[in-house]
């Protein structure tokens, strides 16, 4: 179909082609500077071997460390953060209209759409140990100031990412709930189900496919997001370095693209595993339809 | 029934077949629809009637077979080249357009100048009594008005063929009756060949000049509504038409008699022995006294007073049998009832469901 042609062209040229290129150079010592830049050579699996060098895999600044941080980050911010919070907001304002809903939806959406650099600065200020708003608020309740970016950098960027990304889940669930006929709720209500039972027995099964879709997308996005780098730079001492920051560091610190490409390929593989897992459960989740 | 030749059919389907993957939606359908005829395709959901309609419209490509409209082979033409109009079950009125724009759309894509378009739309809309709604959007008018707008859109460019896909099923009962009459009247008036798909036998009978009853992708019977009603060719057709439908009691044919559960009925004509169904319409049964000869014994199941008539349902053997009594009074009935058959009105079907005779 002619309608599909431009998209196929774009995707072919700007996605598939570079990906194949990345795959190829991941087996070489391609670099932009230094001796191997002049004539890159095939190095087999060396780039991959260096990633998984068991003797120092989990050391700070190595791939294993970044992977562990990413796991915490994705689990905490996407799966335990954005999705439930987004669902909660969507539920709270389901079938409600008015100013309050507009306000909450708008500020949440703002957090989602404002440019990276701007929100990064806002968050640097927000969680600053000495001047930060959060510590000021906590202080008002008598809590001790927390040195977020130094003591709890991973928690800090997780918090940031919840803030940043909840809007997507909220909008998605809001749309999903809007598509459930009101009679479904009412039937359950008449049948004597309380709010929790209505949620568990009626809403949850109905929005399960949406839930999985949401999880796929936010997991992938969170896995690959680079924005927290603008806040912590992965530090201190690599305690908040995620895999995407690791890729950037490996590829760009010394412009060693062969190594960077290998990390990208591994990232791709992990993404693929994640997505496949979700897709399988999505298929199961839709079986009753 | 295929006596009409291709020449005198305005819409002709020849061996029309449509497969969706492994599913055969339409199976070797042959039909001749005369010019100006109001033709209904009747059948339960999933029988292939809508697919047949869409094949005529050009929205689906047939797997095999040919379609002729007005003597022209349109099988390989796209919808716009067939000069047909279609009214959809959900009306498919575009939410972003006013009724004027909706109705005028077929003219717009034909390049009719705006002024002429508006005039024509107004003319049609006046005819359909929705002229004062033309500035509104579909969401701002009632269901009946939406339905008229959809019809107006089909009417506006004076197509050679009207195609209706269950156009009344989204209306409430009262409106539906009104719309029936309105559509039938309209069709007579404009005289455009019409194919009308419905699953509602009453609708089909009330409106159509002829009916084709479809089951499982095939046409079971074609004929005028009364012919089909009076002489159903298969058990399925018999069971589909009428409200309530024909009673069908399983039994055996033995020596000129039908033997059912607890009764025997002598038949006017002799038939070969074997398993068979006795078909009898509810209005051709009446209540009898206990022990009357030829009476069918049954257990009372329900009595439904409908106003001008009373519907009595009884359990006979394994099946329920309905009796329509033209009385306004409720009969006093005990637990057991006896039903008497008018032997000249019975239908017999063989074990394969085919009409015997």
């Amino acid at each position: 179909m002619a309608f599909l042609a431009p998209a196929l062209l774009f995707i072919g040229v700007f996605l598939l082609f570079p990906f194949i290129w990345v795959l190829i150079i991941s087996f070489t010592d391609t670099a932009l500077t230094g001796p191997s830049a002049a004539n890159p050579s095939f190095v087999g699996l060396e780039n991959y071997y260096r990633l998984f060098n068991a003797s120092r895999w989990m050391r700070a600044g190595e791939f294993g460390n970044a992977l562990r941080n990413t796991l915490f980050f994705v689990l905490g911010s996407a799966i335990l953060g954005q999705a439930p919070l987004g669902l909660a907001i969507a539920l709270a304002f389901h079938r409600k209209k008015g100013l309050v809903r507009e306000l909450v939806f708008s500020v949440a959406t703002m957090a989602w759409i404002l440019p990276d650099v701007a929100v990064a600065f806002a968050w640097i200020a927000f969680l600053d140990r000495d001047f930060g708003t959060l510590n000021a608020v906590l202080g008002a309740f008598g809590a001790k100031a927390i040195d977020w970016y130094f003591e709890k950098p991973l928690v800090a960027i997780t918090l940031f990412n919840i803030w940043r990304g909840t809007a997507f889940s909220m909008l998605l669930f809001s749309a999903a709930l809007g598509n459930i006929p009101p009679s479904y709720w009412e039937t359950a209500e008449v049948a004597g189900a309380n709010a929790w039972q209505r949620f568990r027995d009626i809403i949850l099964p109905l929005i399960l496919p949406h839930f999985l879709t949401d999880l796929i997308l936010i997991t992938l996005w969170t896995f690959n997001t680079f924005t927290p780098y603008l806040i912590t730079g992965g530090g201190p001492f690599f305690r908040s370095e995620t895999v995407s920051m690791y890729t950037y560091r490996v590829a760009f610190k010394f412009l060693e693209f062969g190594r960077g490409a290998a990390v990208a390929v591994v990232m791709m593989a992990i993404n693929l595993v994640l997505a496949t897992g979700y897709l399988l459960s999505l298929r199961r989740g839709r079986a009753w339809r | 029934m295929n006596s009409e030749s291709r020449e005198n059919g305005y819409i002709v389907l020849q061996g029309l077949t449509k497969h969706f993957g492994l599913v055969v939606a339409v199976d070797r359908v042959d039909l001749n629809i005369a010019q100006g005829e109001f033709f209904a395709l009747l059948g339960p959901s999933g029988c292939g009637k809508t697919t047949t309609l869409r094949l005529i419209a050009g929205l689906e490509r047939p797997t095999a077979g040919r379609i002729f409209i007005g003597g022209r082979d349109v099988t390989d033409l796209v919808p716009r080249e067939r000069d047909v109009a279609m009214v959809f079950q959900d009306y498919a009125l575009y939410p972003h357009m006013t009724l004027l724009e909706n109705i005028g759309y077929p003219l717009k894509v034909r390049g009719v100048p705006r002024k002429k378009l508006v005039a024509r739309v107004r003319e049609v809309a006046e005819h359909l009594k929705i002229a004062d709604l033309l500035d509104r959007r579909p969401s701002q008018v009632s269901g009946g008005q939406q339905q008229r707008a959809a019809v107006a859109r089909a009417l506006v460019h004076e197509p050679k063929v009207f195609l209706f896909d269950e156009p009344l099923s989204n209306l409430d009962a009262k409106l539906r009756l009104e719309a029936r009459a309105f559509l039938k009247h309209l069709q007579r008036e404009v005289g455009v060949t019409t194919v009308y798909v419905t699953h509602d036998q009453a609708e089909a009978m009330a409106m159509a000049d002829r009916i084709a009853v479809m089951f499982a992708g095939r046409i079971a019977q074609v004929g005028s509504p009364l012919d089909v009603y009076r002489e159903p060719m298969t058990v399925e057709v018999a069971a589909f038409l009428g409200n309530p439908p024909m009673n069908l009691i399983p039994g055996r044919l033995e020596g000129g008699e039908f033997v059912g559960p607890g009764f025997r009925i002598p038949l006017s004509s002799t038939s070969p022995s074997g398993e068979a169904f006795l078909g009898i319409r509810p209005e051709h049964l009446r209540l009898a006294e206990r022990g009357e000869t030829g009476a069918i014994p049954g257990r009372l199941y329900a009595v439904q007073p409908l106003g001008p008539e009373v519907l009595v349902t009884a359990q006979v053997g394994e099946v329920t049998v309905s009796v329509r009594l033209f009385t306004e009074e409720l009969p006093h009935l005990g637990d057991e009832v006896w039903l008497l058959v008018d032997p000249s009105r019975v239908h017999l079907f063989d074990s394969g469901g085919k009409r015997i005779r």
Partner: protein, 279 residues
């Protein structure tokens, strides 16, 4: 008794709403106060003395202003247009095309895009654009960004497309419209809210993207805002908070305006909500 329960529930709801709202608003306060403060720190404080001088200083940096009000608008606008149009076409085609496994296909593309638009593929993309003679052009940036955003754009668009009843298009076809007329007159208008969401989403992503323009644009007069913001760093590579915050605020405004406009005009939401008809 019931009244008490109602009041408690109501209060609880209000409290939770306030908490959630606060969580989303608090981090942004700094962005709203610091630009007006002559001596901005990382603290949120009422600007004293209140000043607009920071904006004056920002506007004197012609490089940054050109980046924001010309280059970023061109690049993000072009990407928005490209993504919204192509994604709509493709989503439409995909949803009307009966291909087995097309859902998996879309997911795979989303997967690809999230990795390939990352850091690692920048080298091939750079060389590719060099061969296409598109280095240091707005078009080059627009093409690469569009390519990267398309899969997710298609993904978001797909559900909008699938919520359009087939009968809309069929009715147009039977009315005598060509496929292109059908798309233009019937599908496109109904899809507009969806396109707007995808457009805003694409604009926002292009507007904020640093890496792609930083690599593909070589001359400063074509640099967009996220790159230009680094001109408010000192020689030591540290941000000048007054100017950074003022510039960030200016930089955020177009996105906010766009969102508010689309939300007001079409409603910023996903999937569905179309069937009810035009408002």
């Amino acid at each position: 008794m019931n009244l008490v329960r109602f009041v408690i529930l109501r209060l609880g709801f209000v409290l939770v709403t306030v908490l959630i709202g606060t969580f989303f608003v608090l981090p942004l306060l700094w962005l709203l106060t610091a630009p007006f403060n002559a001596q901005a720190t990382l603290r949120v404080e009422w600007p004293s003395p209140f000043t607009l001088r920071n904006f004056g200083d920002v506007f004197r940096n012609t490089f940054a202003i050109r980046a924001l009000f010309l280059n970023s608008i061109i690049q993000a606008g072009g990407t928005m247009l490209g993504t919204a149009v192509i994604a709509t076409l493709a989503a439409y085609a995909l949803s009307r095309l009966e291909i087995r496994g097309r859902n998996v296909l879309v997911y795979l593309l989303v997967l690809f895009s999230s990795v390939v638009t990352g850091t690692a593929a920048m080298v091939p993309i750079f060389l590719l654009l060099y061969y296409l003679r598109l280095i240091d052009t707005h078009l080059g940036v627009i093409l690469v960004l569009t390519g990267g955003l398309l899969p997710t754009g298609i993904f978001l668009m797909r559900d909008f497309v699938e919520s359009i009843p087939r009968s809309y298009e069929e009715s147009a076809l039977v009315s005598g419209a060509t496929p292109w007329q059908t798309f233009r007159d019937v599908v496109l208008p109904v899809l507009r809210p969806g396109m707007m969401v995808v457009a805003v989403w694409a604009f926002v992503n292009a507007w904020g993207n640093f890496l792609i323009p930083a690599i593909l644009i070589r001359s400063p007069e074509k640099m967009p805002a996220p790159v230009a913001i680094y001109s408010f760093y000192t020689e030591g590579g540290t941000p000048v908070l007054t100017l950074i915050s003022a510039y960030s605020l200016l930089y955020a405004i177009p996105v906010v305006v766009l969102y508010l406009f689309v939300n007001w005009r079409y409603g910023f939401r996903f999937f569905g909500g179309i069937k009810g008809g035009g408002k």
